[in-house]
Subunit: 196 residues, 2 copies
DNA sequence: ACTTGCGATATATAATTCTGTATCAAGGAT
DNA sequence: ATCCTTGATACAGAATTATATATCGCAAGT
């Protein structure tokens, strides 16, 4: 998948997860197969414009063409509209996202051997999971995790892993300077291994 | 082309024409071939999401996912931003659009024989060309013309032509009741045949 | 332990996109 | 009349999407 579309695709996935809709259910609504949706969301395939529109309309989202200089304004409009219950769902799927990322990193270490970068990524992901992240921060994290996932089949995996590690650390540092980390609600502390 | 994407594609074409950019020039900017762009714009092909993003970014437009209920608000934002010189360009390409539509309708009558619907479409298009149309009205006209163009290769051509004729007449009636028609500036009266 | 649902992946196949290149009719400028 | 540019169309071939179906490892619930 090219960089052009991956942000839109990531947003579509976030919206689906935020709505608590599975790929199978979305497929039924959109007239697409679950495997098709999985390949689109995971970056294994570039969808056609119509397929993507089908997907996103089934999530009550509309693709719009916006003049580039109006993009920040539109983003502001969209952000102001996000509902609280959507945040709750989003937080839940965020935690699942972190859990899956930790599992994926373990698997990568197992398959390709450990490395300083992977260790750093693993530790930073564990830290970020406990911190309350803003939407922008969470979006960045998700994009980095998605890139890590796709890097496995990439030739420049090492370089990409390095870049992801640096970005995650930069984010962590900015958070550390913004506010001291506050633990998540107790019900989410039980998730995953966080003994360290 | 499916109905899902045709509105977006029509908007991209309008933007390109409004900017006075040819398909060849756009192709160079976007990394696509002129024939590819022509097939996309004319509805002969469903583009991939990335190809479409390439196209539209080269026109300083960004594809955004917007919650359905925010679409009117975003449309309002976009409309408020349109610059006067863009309107002038748009008016110019509108007139060219009308001219092309009139030629196409003549060709259709020649190829498939005349019909009451085609006659009505031809006459209504000639009328609408002289009237100052609002953006929404002009958008509707363009979509209808595009549908007419595509209907030629369609099995339900007659039904589509009928539907287009009715829509154009409905638009004309709403305009007639809104304001008495005012002729266009003299410099555009010379275009095309409007003796009838 | 078992069941269910999840997302990811595999396979085969048909359909379509995408690219490169060429050509054409039409319109505008000279 | 000629030249140039335009958008549309054609063709061949490579690459990719899209569909159908199945299967898998994993997580959660019972």
């Amino acid at each position: 998948m090219s960089y052009q579309s991956e942000s839109l695709i990531a947003q579509a996935r976030e919206a689906r997860e935020a709505l608590g809709v599975s790929q199978r259910v979305l497929g039924e609504r959109a007239g697409l197969t679950q495997s098709h949706i999985s390949q689109i969301e995971s970056g294994k395939m570039e969808p056609g414009l119509s397929s993507f529109i089908d997907m996103t309309r089934a999530l009550d989202l509309e693709l719009m063409l916006v003049p580039k200089k109006l993009v920040p304004g539109v983003l502001g409009l969209v952000k102001a509209q996000a509902t609280p219950d959507m945040h709750i769902h989003a937080a839940q799927s965020n935690d699942k996202r972190f859990a899956r990322a930790e599992r994926m990193i373990k698997k990568m270490k197992h398959l390709y051997g450990s490395s300083a970068d992977l260790d750093r990524i693993e530790e930073t992901v564990r830290f970020l999971r406990r911190v309350n992240l803003g939407d922008q921060e969470m979006r960045l994290v998700r994009e980095l995790i998605a890139r890590l996932e796709r890097s496995q089949a990439s030739e420049q995996a090492a370089a990409v892993v390095r870049d992801i590690a640096q970005n995650l650390r930069r984010l962590r540092n900015s958070i550390t300077h913004r506010v001291s980390p506050e633990p998540r609600p107790a019900y989410s502390l039980d998730d995953g291994d966080d003994d360290a």
